[in-house]
Every structure is written in C-alpha cells, then in structure tokens.
Symmetry: C2
Subunit: 463 residues, 2 copies
C-alpha cells in the first residue's frame, strides 16, 4: 500500500497528482500487468482523501490506457512497455487534445445512446438465440433485419423488396464495396466539392480519378455537371443530397430531379449517401434520390452512425437489381458478413418502434444547438467571413477571406481551447480558407463561449 | 383462431404439418406482417397437441424467416411478398438443404459458444462504459484489447509491441486490407494449391494474378516454389501453415524455415493465415512463421472464428513496422473500425482467462470427431480413394480416382442425406476429383453413419 503514498501539494487537483503518481509507478514497472489496484474505499482512507478523488483517478487511468475495470472485481493495471499514442492516421475518433470547446467531433455524444433499452435487447437476443446469434450470417444480412429495414425505408418513400436491402458494416463499407464493384484503374468518379474525404480516399484506392463538381445552396452546380459529363464518362456521381458534409447544403426537389435526368441522359449511376436526412430541422421533407429513381440508377447508402451510434457499425445499402449479386459478393470478400449479433439487436430495436422515438429525441437537441451556432456566428463573425446556415445535419461550413489560412486559425484557436477542423481535406485542390464547425457534442453555452473566442481570433487575424 | 385449425394426418410429424399450414397462411397474406401468433398454451389447447409441437413449429418458422420472437412478448409474423431464398453467393453460412449428415459446415457449432459467460461480459461492458462502448474506435483497435492480444500472442512466441497488433473484422477483412495495401492490377500472388477460395477471390478482385504452388504433407513444395520465384516476382506468398484449409496439412519446422529463407532471398513477403493453430490435437507444437520471422517479412492474421464464433467478426493482424500505417489506413477506408462494443467484450473475455479454457474444451470435442472421421474413412473407403489424416483443424481432404467427379458424388450423397463440399473451388484449374469433409458440427455416431453411406456411394460409382 505504501507505494501509493503521495505528498499532495496545492499546485494541482489531488486526483491529478495521484493519477500522475500511479502512472509513473506503472511506467517504471513497479506495478505489474493485471495488478489489482486497491479498492476505492481502502485507498481513500489510506490517503485521507474523498472517494471521488480515487474514482476520478481510476477513470483517468482507464481513459489514458493505464488501467481497465471489471465490474464487481475492481480496477487493474495495464502495464505495457510500449504505451504510445494510438491515434494513428486520420480518424473522426481522434482525441482532440485538451480543447475545452470541441467543434471537431461530429459523432454523436455517447451520453445520448439508449444504453438501458439496448442492453435489454442484447439480453433478449441472447436469451432467444443463444450461440446462434454468433454464427455466420448471410452476406446480405440477417433476414428479419432486412425486412425491418424494408419497412423503415417505406417511411422515406423507398419501396424495394428486402432482397435488395443489404446490411453493411457502416457507411464507409458501403463506399468500399461500391468501389470494388464498379471501379477499376483509370475510371472517373464525380463528387461534390467540397466532399467527405473518406469517400475520395476509397475511390482513389481503386485507381479511380475524382472530378469535383461545386455544390451550392440548392445542390450540385448542374451546368458544370453537364459540361463535365460531356467530357468524361464517370462510373458514377457521388452525392449527399441531405445536409451534405461538410457544407450542410440540402438539394431542393428541382436539383434532385435534374440530377437524375442528367445521370440517365449520360448513362451514369448515382451513389446517394444518406447520413443526415433524419436530422432535418425544417418541416420541409424532400424525398431521397432513391425514392425518385424510376430507372434503377441510384445506389443508396443509409448510415445509422450519426443518429444512433457509430460504434454499432451498421448501415444499409439499397442496390439496383443488376448490381445486387456483385455487391453481395464484394461484401462477402470484404468481411463475409456484418456481426449477426448486433444485427439481431438492432432488428429488435426497430421492431419495438424505438428508432423514431430516438430520432425525435436527438433531433430536438441538435436543432437547438444548430440554431445557437448560427445565431452566435451571425452575432460574432465579421462580415467578410461567410458561413452556411443548414436546416439539418451537424455542421456549419465557414469560408474565410481568400488570404486567410484556416490552419493558422485552427492553431491559434487550439491555444485558446477551441478545436476546429480545417477544410483542405475536403477539396481535391486542398483549398486553404475553409473550416468546418460541428456542434454535435457541445452544450449551448459552450457553443456561444467557443464561438466568441473563435471570432475574436479571426478578427485579430483579419486586422 | 379458426384459421389455425389443421386436420392432422399420419403422413408427417404434427409440428411439420402445422408449420406448413402457417407458412401457407403467411404466403397467401392471411396473416399480416407483425401479426402476433397465439401463445403456445392457447394454440396447443386449441389443436389438442403437446406444447412441444407448437414450440418446434414456431422455432422452425423463425429459422425459415417467417416469424420472429420477442422474449416475453411472443412470436410475430414476418409477412413479406418477396420471401425468397437468401443464400446469395458462396458462403460458409449457406443452409445446406435438409441433409441429415452435414459434412459441409466448417464453422463451430453455436451450442459451443459460451453464451452465459459472454452475456455477463457484455453487461459488464455496458455497466462500465455505457454509450461510450458504441463510440467510434481507433482504426487500429481498442487499446486494452490490443494489449491483451499482445499478451496472448506471447503464448505463440510472437512478441510485438501492441501498436503493430491491429483489430480487424474477421480474417477475410485481413486479406482484403492486405490486398488493398499491396496489390495492383497485374501483380502476382503465390498461393498454396489447393487454397481457400475467399483468398483467391480477394486477390483477383484487385486485378492480381494467382500462381498456385502445390502443398504436401509437410508444407508447400519448395522446389516448385523456388522455380516459380525465379520466373515471377510475387508481391507475397499466401500460406496457412497450420492445418491448411482444405487439406489439413501442417508445415514442419524445416519447411517453415526454408519458406522464410526463400521469401527473403527472392525479396517477397509472406502472408500467414492462422485459423487453426489452436486446434492442434498433437503434442507437437510448431511456432508460427511470424514467430520465426527475424526480418519482418511476415504479415500474420489470426482468426478467432473457428475456435470461438464467426459471428463476432473479430480477428487480429500483426503488421511489419513498415506496413503498419498503410494497413491501418486501408482498414480505415474499409469500415473505419471494428465494433468497439464487441472488442470491449472480447477484451474482458481474454482478461478473465476464459479463452484458453474454451480452447481446451472445444479442442477435446473436435479431436475426438477428427479421430472418428479418420478411422471411419480407413474402415469404409476403398483403397483407390486417398485422404489426409490431419492432426488438427476441422476438415479432411479426399482425393477420388481421376475419372470420378466429386460433383456427381456430392449429388448422389445429397439424395441420401449426406452433404459434402466438392473441391473444385479450391483450385485455380478447378480439379474435379476432390472433396472436403468437415466434421465440425457432427456427433460421432453421425460421422460414422454418414461416412458409411458416403463410402457405399463411392464404391457404387467405382464399379
């Protein structure tokens, strides 16, 4: 027990000092791997501190990868000689340092996840199916879930037999299997510009060349699209018509119809990526392209990551009949199938009508954060800085004057505890004067405070 | 209630007659989607049959996709106008008709899955992490699990820092991200012949050409390998040194060392696929290639699907340092990350030392089935039919005389209730006179009975 003794100073909080002390014990090898740390009660008595100090300490050790907890058993040491930063590569999961105002994260707050309901469903699945829940699943997906999703899609005016509804391990996998099915070295793909970087990376990993078509308030620039369609012969046009990432733009009905007409006229396909249509804060509902697709030229991906939780890794893909088998084969040779266990739990979730309830709940929260963001930007930003005013989704897209570099602003902002995402990754030609502001995980007072700081940094730079 | 009335005959079991009746009600639309079927008690009273009849009927309806059960609520109809066969494409999960003796399935029996223990762990994870368990995960994997697996790998004499241990969504995904990282149009890959078809399909989907190297009792034919290495310049050699699928062959130490030497001499990589090393029934343990790999030329995949359960979709990949980042990027653009929730549960499973216990348990069962299979084959098969005698894994590989076609045997066998897997898919040139016999899900008396039938069919064909 004596190794845990700390001579507390007033320089920092006690839990922080204790955490640092235990970390150093682990790093220098004084506490072996799987060593059981003292109970909270014991250690708080020994150190003569409040229970909460120990709780916070153990929680921090865990978050930082120095310990793990087994419920009912205690907290145990993770002693590894190679404790390193694990944030390799680009990822939305990247831990964004210690920023107080995080406008970077665009995945839903874990606190919104319906843990209790979902736990009940997981247990129901295990009760009902036992080990069968962990067997191989058909590559197309667990039949009852495909049928539930078919029902769900009717609410979006998409009416297809369930055998064209494929269960995939998240929206990104949808892009991957589409790329595998349709793209070869040297093919062209049209994307919106700006565009989600994960899509561009997937297409170019198949050797395809990406041509960007500017996206505006009501949708893709159709004149430029037609000009380029005359010159190139793209395999498909990749679009996000509802609250496009990163801009938040929504295509109006006229743009949707015209886009379908052009694709048909120039004999190309459309890949429709629906991450955000459920987070529509206006009363104006516009049907997805797939619902308007009379010629079967739209491949539709619907992700549940932004509304539900990304860690489920579940999405759906609706395939035109002629691509049904090749897409299932591509899925099979990618990961055989998506976890049948999670498919079964999600199926029950839908069958118990919990989905719409959850959507309504989170939509209310995000809508309010969206309005707060827009009104704070209107109030604080100088007039030379432009920004979108989305009526759905989780982000606002900001355009700085051409001579200002978003990277510089991001660095300055970070020093003041504000995290923003520079926009160059969203452009083929890496434009420097844009950034994305996501309000997904921010409380409204923090949105206001963060934007105030950000605006003053921008103003300072503009001087 | 009257619609459920059945005039039972003696032709078939009552549960089967009732099942067919309810299916026909569903197909013709008499029972709508989500219709709640009568309780077991009510229906058994109404029909004057045993409870078990209703239980079996409802279970069959569910398995066949006509109903779903919500624990505590009842059984509900799945009414879909498009109820079709969902077994699109090749899949180990394919339902193999009504064969009584299934020598096709090579995925573990769901009844072996430690449901109770795993259920406890899933609940522990939810208690501990709440919604955070469903957040995005680092592409490389959940840190504590990477550390647990690093510890586990030490038992296989593989000693690597955890940052080179990647969590992937099953072994097939490992092949996919390796192909994405290393292969372009026109590249060569060497595989064993025969070889797992899912690997060949993944490599060829990147436009690579596959060259087969015959595999024998002690490993790949090294003379042929070296001859081909002189002619081609493969990106890698794909091997399964432990109880190779489909033959069950295990490489001896000399073949392992020589293979590493040749790869090094001709400047190529090795992809080692470890599905079966845990199912080693002999006392002779040979270290994996990765453990002997002093030059960092082996990419190692370890699947947990064959020992644990495939539906978890969890495997690990050990990357040589120079491929670490590209492999993580390929993973990221494939599906961002593997379900963090299942990673957390599996991590606890390992930390509670339940893994080895489970391996020992199932190994005993499979070993006994393996011995029964081999001894039944020795007793029953005519001497012109050859077969492997594996000391590990889940399959025996059978070679018929050259003029006999395995497809014909499989068709005849199926008519007699025996399912076998013709081997042509395992060859680049689709050899016709081989088949695979898996004893994974078969009780020993069924193994004996099934092989007796099979042998008499083969003898009949040889006449």
């Amino acid at each position: 027990m004596n190794v845990f003794h700390v001579q507390f100073t007033n320089s920092e909080s006690k839990y922080k000092q204790l955490t640092d002390h235990i970390k150093s014990l682990i790093v220098k090898g004084s506490l072996p791997h799987h060593y059981k740390l003292p109970s909270i009660r014991k250690l708080s008595t020994f150190l003569n501190v409040n229970n909460v100090t120990i709780v916070n300490c153990y929680k921090t050790l865990e978050q930082d990868g120095y310990a793990y907890t087994i419920h009912g058993s205690g907290t145990f040491v993770i002693a590894d000689n190679n404790l390193i930063d694990t944030n390799e590569g680009y990822s939305e999961s990247t831990v964004f340092g210690d920023v107080k105002y995080d406008f970077i994260t665009s995945s839903p707050s874990p606190t919104f996840f319906p843990v209790k309901a979902f736990k009940g469903l997981l247990n129901d699945v295990l009760e009902r199916d036992g080990g069968f829940a962990f067997n191989y699943q058909e590559a197309g997906g667990y039949l009852p879930l495909r049928q539930s999703l078919r029902e769900l899609l009717k609410g979006y005016k998409i009416n297809v037999p369930h055998q064209y509804v494929h269960i995939i391990s998240g929206g990104q996998q949808g892009l991957d299997i589409i790329a595998k099915t349709l793209l070869s070295e040297g093919d062209f793909v049209f994307t919106e510009e700006p565009c989600y970087p994960g899509a561009m990376a997937t297409f170019s990993s198949r050797g395809a060349k990406t041509v960007g078509i500017p996206v505006r308030n009501k949708g893709m620039d159709l004149q430029i699209l037609e000009d380029r369609l005359k010159k190139f012969n793209p395999k498909f046009i990749y679009v996000m018509p509802d609250f496009q990432s990163p801009t938040g733009y929504q295509y109006d009905l006229a743009h949707r119809r015209k886009l379908l007409d052009l694709a048909s006229k120039y004999n190309t396909l459309i890949v429709e990526d629906d991450h955000f249509s459920d987070l529509n804060y206006s009363i104006n509902k516009i049907p997805p392209l797939k619902a308007l697709d009379t010629e079967n030229i739209v491949i539709y991906i619907k992700s549940f990551s932004k509304v539900f939780m990304p860690g489920l890794r579940l999405a759906l893909l609706v395939a035109p009949p002629i691509f049904n088998t090749p897409l299932i084969e591509a899925k099979q040779f990618s990961d055989i199938s998506t976890s049948g266990f999670l498919q079964r739990a999600f199926d029950l979730y839908l069958r118990k009508d919990l989905w719409q309830e959850h959507v309504n709940k989170v939509k209310k929260v995000y809508q309010s954060r969206c309005l707060t963001t827009i009104s704070a930007l209107e109030k604080r930003l100088p007039s030379s800085v432009m920004f979108t005013k989305p009526t759905g989704g989780l982000c606002v897209w900001i355009q700085l004057p051409p001579h200002i570099c978003a990277d510089d602003i991001a660095n300055l902002a970070k020093q003041h505890g504000v995290g923003i995402l520079p926009g160059d990754d969203f452009f083929i030609d890496r434009k420097q004067n844009f950034f994305r502001l996501s309000f997904t995980t921010m409380a409204e007072k923090d949105i206001e405070a963060g934007i105030e700081i950000l605006a003053s940094i921008i103003k300072g730079t503009l001087k």
